[in-house]
Symmetry: C2
Subunit: 210 residues, 2 copies
């Protein structure tokens, strides 16, 4: 049996269980979507599946710093699904402002297809979690987004900002993008900003806008 | 700034926030722990961080098949932390019965050290989630364990059982280990068993015990 046959065996069930198994196989592809961020030891790029795990863990340990009242279980669900659309749409560099705009329609199509693989109510529930994340309106979505800024920020610091400098991203840009973590996390942006300033002083990152 | 300096900057905060950030850095190491299982496309081995993400997602989509009443948020938390001890203890082959016995004490030490990095109450909460998983007594732990059997089973099928056959694991063993998924998941073991029998018929996996 190969992967096509294994997936066909699930499809042949022709019921909800088969659809759930097909979705589980589909999810595996997120492990092949590579991000701009490197691991803390700089050995390789991070993929979106392990990134999503890291974020869900960060939500648990940073929950005491969340702004407003949050339902942590909801945040975990949001973070587990927030990058699944990248299976079709790929990861987009957050500092590539034009590419991000273009990606939006593609990501909605991806959400339609991928969450549509599941039976109800999970299909709608997971789609709603993704929509909630994208809208950034609830306390949970803002906190989830803050975790999604904090994680690559910490990883980038650990490799001397290499993934910023090789893209020509300046300290001003790093602050503009990551400063938004203050919308969802209390008591951490001052610390983060001081580290960016230190990186500028040490000459590892350029201060001004490109 | 390198990774040692980034972690030192967190430690220099000398407060709960610093300890949370140190823990976040520590978690990154789980992305380097490699498992026996290959990805669905057979391209490489899976790591324990992306595996944990996959399991948390499987818990969400298989929840309607859970045996007994489960608190899904608790299951997600259990699955997110269940392999963190591997940062120190490494992954152990589930079919290497002797190695698994030896690993137990090492994993407890790892849990003491790693969860001990966090401030309270998260330190105790995450340790309790890991202890609960290891004890396999609650409905949540049994369901989590069932997901942890289902996932590598599905992945192995997709690569023609290659990760079983190269270790000399037989169909009897695959059934003995994975049959336990029936303790936490309803209505799936019959399907799984039929696929093992099909793999035996196709000659891709040996029937008897080695």
């Amino acid at each position: 049996m190969d992967s096509a046959e294994a997936i066909a065996a699930a499809a042949a069930l022709d019921d909800d269980l088969g659809r759930r198994i097909e979705f589980i196989y589909e999810l595996d592809r997120l492990k092949k979507v590579m991000r701009q961020t490197l691991l803390v030891d700089g050995s390789r790029n991070e993929n979106s599946a392990e990134h999503s795990w890291h974020l869900a863990m960060i939500a648990i340990v940073m929950a005491p710093h969340a702004k407003g009242d949050i339902d942590l279980a909801k945040v975990m669900r949001i973070l587990l699904v927030h990058d699944i659309v990248e299976i079709d749409a790929g990861d987009v560099d957050i500092y590539d402002y034009e590419a991000r705009k273009k990606k939006e329609a593609e990501e909605v199509e991806a959400a339609d297809r991928i969450f549509g693989l599941l039976p109800e109510p999970e299909s709608t529930e997971l789609r709603e979690a993704w929509d909630e994340y994208e809208a950034r309106e609830t306390a949970e979505a803002k906190f989830a987004y803050a975790c999604d800024r904090l994680q690559p920020f910490l990883l980038n610091l650990a490799i001397g900002g290499r993934s910023w400098t090789r893209r020509g991203v300046t300290a001003d840009e790093v602050k503009a993008i990551n400063g938004r973590m203050a919308d969802g996390l209390d008591g951490i942006w001052d610390y983060a900003e001081a580290l960016i300033d230190r990186a500028v002083t040490e000459g590892t990152i350029e201060p001004g806008r490109r």
